[in-house]
């Protein structure tokens, strides 16, 4: 599942976009400010950054420059500022797309797909003879056997991998996996970790380390 970070300060637009992109099968995190975007960017692996230019605590261009200085993450601007100067600045930063508001839903989805076609991401992690394919959500055992853990378990695994080497707290796992619904609890998280360790054949907690009083950490170095 491809991960999108959406930075949009308009709540109505942000919520609608998040819902529609999620319906298209993307994992979407929506934040409203530049600071929160920077925090989210430091916390995980992202495949695309969809960015509004006018943010309450700074410019989307500034944020894009900071991101491009550190990574090659594709960036797509959605903005009401469509002047020649703005477009030029966006493309100079290295944006893949510059979509003026108001845009059509189908057009946006098409352009997102177009960016992914241009930047195919095949993400996989190898660890101690096992391969974890993040896109197909599969764990390939040393004997070639392919395992497909339950969706939420795999989301947790992806969260741990993308956050490594940072320790992810149980509360953060609950927030990320269940959002505002808060249906999950710490016991559920611990059970999911047990299932994941079983799927990974991780009897001695080598892959997923428990950090006492804090949470869990992806512990594979390769």
């Amino acid at each position: 599942m491809k991960s999108l970070l959406l930075v949009e300060d308009d709540r109505s637009l942000g919520a609608t976009l998040q819902d529609r992109l999620a319906l298209e099968g993307y994992r979407v995190q929506w934040v409203e400010t530049k600071q929160r975007a920077l925090k989210k960017l430091s916390e995980g692996l992202w495949d695309l950054l969809i960015l509004d230019v006018g943010l309450p605590d700074g410019s989307g261009f500034e944020l894009a420059r900071e991101v491009k200085a550190q990574s090659s993450l594709p960036i797509m601007f959605i903005t009401a500022l469509g002047t020649a100067e703005n477009r030029l600045e966006g493309f100079e930063i290295g944006a893949e797309e510059f979509i003026p508001k108001p845009f059509h839903l189908r057009e946006l989805l098409l352009r997102v797909r177009h960016v992914f076609e241009k930047h195919p991401v095949r993400r996989q992690v190898s660890c101690n003879g096992r391969t974890i394919e993040l896109d197909s959500r599969t764990i390939i055992q040393p004997d070639g056997q392919r395992e497909h853990p339950p969706a939420r378990d795999f989301d947790l695994l992806e969260l741990l991998i993308s956050s490594a080497p940072r320790v992810v707290s149980r509360n953060q796992i609950i927030d990320t996996l269940w959002g505002e619904d808060k249906l999950g609890n710490q016991r559920t998280v611990d059970n999911m970790i047990v299932h994941l360790r079983q799927s990974l054949g991780d009897a001695d907690s080598k892959f997923i380390r428990a950090v006492r009083g804090v949470g869990y950490q992806w512990g594979c170095d390769s």
Binding site: S12, L13, D19, L81, T83, L105, R106
Partner: protein, 305 residues
């Protein structure tokens, strides 16, 4: 760029004040010296010359004071005008941002509802979406009208098929046929605005159900974009089309769309002409200069595949 222009204006005011005040001071000193010289050689008229000296001194002083006062007032009003202009621009930027964001949200929600309904017809949503488009065009045209004299264009190679494909999202029920393809030197947003206005006019005023856009080469280095609809056409005076605020009939629009289209086309070093189509529809013809790259229909199909 704009800040530089503002600085130049203030500098010109300062230069004008300095020049005129210096000139007046020089004239005054020169006049007083002349009077002194005459006074030294003409002792008989000394009293009268002294009166002239006093008069010149006072009048010169008042003139210089007036010049300085006028210059300062000019500087003050120029600064105030610049600040006011900046405030208006700031307001327009904030207004545009809010209006366009709200419109994007509205359109997205309407389109989401339509998608959720699937193939079920939803005339209410269709009308709502068409109204958001009308609102968008009116807003864009109003902003273009304000920015036409000073707004910069970013001329780059624009592939017509890409632009036309993105325009299709605006009118899902309208058949837009494209024959031929090419790349023109244009500002993508300006060209989009031109084509949007032409097609919207075909739909709104011509009641057209089909628009055919034909791209062909004219001579060795020009590209012609022929936009023809199957609507009822235009019954008025063609020479009046594209003139600002000229309305041809009640409810015939604000008279801004075609004016902006023509102005934007001119700023892209292209020409826009209107005519009556052979089948009675409306025809608009864009004539682009430069190294227009042509692609045949067959090539275009290959690209799509």
């Amino acid at each position: 760029m704009k800040q530089q222009r503002d600085r130049i204006k203030i500098l010109l005011v300062a230069l004008w004040v300095t020049f005129t005040v210096t000139l007046a001071v020089w004239w005054l000193i020169f006049g007083l010296r002349q009077l002194n010289l005459i006074n030294q050689s003409n002792l008989e008229g000394a009293v009268q010359l002294h009166r002239h000296y006093q008069m010149l001194l006072w009048e010169g002083g008042i003139l210089i004071a007036s010049l300085i006062g006028g210059g300062l007032a000019l500087y003050y009003y120029a600064r105030r005008e610049q600040k006011r202009h900046a405030q208006v621009e700031e307001f327009f930027a904030a207004f545009t941002h809010d209006a366009k964001t709200a419109m994007a949200s509205l359109r997205l929600q309407a389109e989401s509802l339509k998608e959720d309904l699937g193939s079920k017809p939803s005339p209410l949503l269709d009308r709502l979406l068409q109204d958001t488009l009308r609102l968008q065009i009116q807003l864009e045209n109003s902003l273009s009208l304000v920015k036409l004299p000073s707004g910069r264009l970013l001329i780059e190679p624009v592939k017509l098929s890409n632009l036309i494909d993105s325009l299709r999202f605006h009118w899902p029920d309208l058949t837009i046929l494209q024959k031929g393809d090419g790349t023109v030197p244009a500002d993508v947003r300006a060209l989009e605005s031109v084509l949007t206005n032409l097609i919207q006019n075909a739909v709104t005023h011509g009641q057209a159900s089909e628009v055919v856009i034909t791209v062909s080469r004219r001579g060795s280095d020009r590209l012609k974009v022929h936009v023809e609809d199957n609507g009822c056409g235009f019954q008025g005076d063609f020479s009046q089309l594209g003139k600002l605020f000229v309305r041809h009939a009640r409810g015939s629009g604000s008279g801004v769309g075609l004016y902006i289209s023509r102005q934007l086309t001119r700023r892209m070093n292209a020409k826009l002409n209107f005519a009556r189509g052979p089948a009675g529809g409306f025809v608009a013809e864009l004539d682009f200069p430069g190294e227009a790259e042509m692609m045949s229909v067959a090539e275009r199909e290959e690209v799509i595949i």
